[in-house]
């Protein structure tokens, strides 16, 4: 690949990414799952289960909101991934992707453009929830560096899940299949440490949560907020993102190849 080709690919990724971001912000139906519902859910969890901090074994925290912020971010980033996949599937349904395939541009750049937008939406979600947290009295023990780590981690997490959603979109080519994974997002989240400390969860969810890579990501988002930065937790979170990302990139690569062959 020459430098000129690389520059052209970057331009395609940027243009397609920017298009996806604009589409998301233009229609309330796309933005609501990323912002409104996770925020409402965070509000209910915090007010409804706030007394949980009095339970024996609950970690020392400034407040239950501090503990729950990671769940809001994770929910929003995972739904950003699903919405990204839905957008890609809609492009396939409407024939826009076929036109891109016919254009003299790199094919992976078409998917990477969508994933770049998902990364930005993940970072946006983290900024949104950090702002909500600060407004309603949460502390970020890790300070500004901790906040930056959280924002980047959320972006990476969204991209990793975005790869899986893109694979589903490319394989099925229908929005309903990708949208059908919405409940699955919650299943995966409930079976992780996103909402509650693993030690206080009921069996068999506790055992599953200990093995779920999303638990590492949830802890990686939470740790800089409730106790400050920890190398061990940070690296574990990166490993969790890497596992999910590898699955996403491999499956989306295979699905893209399959769609190109079919075309």
């Amino acid at each position: 690949m020459t430098l000129a080709q690389l520059r052209a690919d970057v331009l395609v990724v940027r243009a397609l990414g920017w298009r996806s971001i604009r589409n998301t912000f233009r229609r309330p139906q796309y933005l609501a799952p990323l912002v409104i519902f996770p925020t409402l859910f965070l509000a209910v969890n915090t007010g409804g289960a706030g007394a949980a901090v009095r339970l024996d074994g609950f970690p020392e925290v400034h407040g239950f909101l501090d503990f729950q912020l990671a769940s809001g971010m994770l929910q929003s980033t995972m739904l950003a991934a699903v919405m990204g996949g839905t957008g890609l599937a809609m492009d396939i349904e409407l024939g826009f992707t076929d036109r891109l395939f016919a254009a003299p541009i790199s094919r992976p750049a078409i998917v990477l453009g969508r994933l770049a937008a998902t990364f930005v939406m993940g970072c946006f979600a983290a900024c949104w929830f950090l702002a909500i947290g600060l407004i309603f009295g949460a502390w970020i023990k890790g300070g500004p560096i901790g906040a930056i780590v959280v924002i980047l981690m959320a972006g990476l997490c969204a991209t990793a899940f975005g790869g899986i959603a893109a694979a589903l979109a490319l394989k099925s080519g229908t929005t309903s299949v990708v949208q059908g994974t919405f409940p699955l997002v919650f299943v995966i989240m409930f079976l992780s440490s996103a909402f509650f400390p693993v030690d206080l969860m009921a069996e068999p969810a506790q055992t599953i949560a200990r093995l779920n890579p999303l638990s590492f990501v949830a802890d990686g988002l939470r740790q800089p907020i409730i106790t400050g930065l920890s190398t061990h937790v940070f690296l574990s979170a990166l490993l969790g993102v890497a596992v999910i990302g590898t699955i996403g990139f491999v499956t989306s690569g295979l699905a893209l190849r399959g769609r190109l062959k079919a075309n």
Binding site: P28, F37, A43, F182
Partner: protein, 256 residues
């Protein structure tokens, strides 16, 4: 004679709306799956809350089942509003207006069909809950809980239909869904009122749907009293009356 014709028309509208379940059975799955996932997931995550003093039960899933039943009912009700917005956008609803049918009958057909459609998610979630250990309250208790949930679905349908008629676009869908989310969850959904923290305790105390949740919860926690039941009945009747009147008002304004 006219009344019989109106009943026929209501029946036809109900059948049209119920056809969706028969023709697209897959569309009913999220309505059952989503509240069931929440019920099982929240029980797994927050189940230890029952260790706190103030809970009347050690079975969190029994405590949570009323919320899941109302979620199922409200999803179906909100879907009615979203479908109505789609019908308005596609022009189908304008054709209904030229039919020789009074508008209350038109609205009644739509709202009643939502109640019938809610039977599927409500009983589906209840069955899953009972299989997972929700306390069996006996047949009269189950029937009472289902009746409350179906009436709540009619409330959700009236409210979201009113919103659909006001905004006339599917872009209003998040508003419909989030208002129902708030109505059901900004209550004593996760914990008794005394254990709620901060602003939620105040909101839950004011929110009338708290009384409905408590009315159904009493059934599953074996605490049924006339007080808990009549509070729920009064709230359901009053809120249904208000939301139906709001929808009728929007309907009367449509096309002017």
């Amino acid at each position: 004679m006219a009344a019989a014709l109106h009943l026929d028309a209501i029946g036809v509208l109900m059948r049209r709306n119920l056809n969706e379940i028969l023709r697209v059975p897959g569309a009913a799955i999220p309505g059952i799956l989503a509240p069931a996932v929440f019920m099982v997931g929240l029980t797994a995550a927050f189940g230890k809350l029952t260790d706190l003093s103030g809970f009347d039960t050690t079975s969190y899933i029994s405590f949570l089942i009323p919320v899941s039943m109302l979620q199922g009912a409200s999803f179906t009700g909100a879907a009615t509003g979203v479908n109505m917005a789609r019908d308005i956008e596609l022009g189908w609803f304008d054709r209904l207006f030229v039919a020789p049918l009074p508008r209350p009958a038109l609205l009644a057909g739509i709202v009643l069909s939502a109640s019938f459609r809610a039977l599927l998610p409500v009983t589906g979630v209840l069955t899953i809950g009972l299989l997972l250990g929700v306390h069996w309250p006996g047949v009269p208790g189950v029937l009472l809980a289902i009746a409350f949930a179906l009436t709540f679905s009619a409330i959700a349908a009236s409210w979201t239909v009113a919103l659909a008629l006001k905004f006339r676009t599917q872009d209003a869908a998040p508003l419909m869904q989030s208002s129902m989310f708030i109505a059901v969850l900004f209550t004593t959904s996760y914990a008794p009122l005394a254990l709620l923290t901060g602003w939620l305790q105040t909101v839950a105390a004011i929110n009338p749907i708290t009384q409905v949740i408590e009315g159904i919860r009493a059934v599953f926690l074996d605490n049924v009293t006339w007080t808990s039941t009549w509070h729920a009945i009064v709230v359901l009747i009053v809120v249904l009356g208000l939301t139906f009147a709001f929808a009728l008002r929007q309907l009367a304004r449509t096309g002017r």
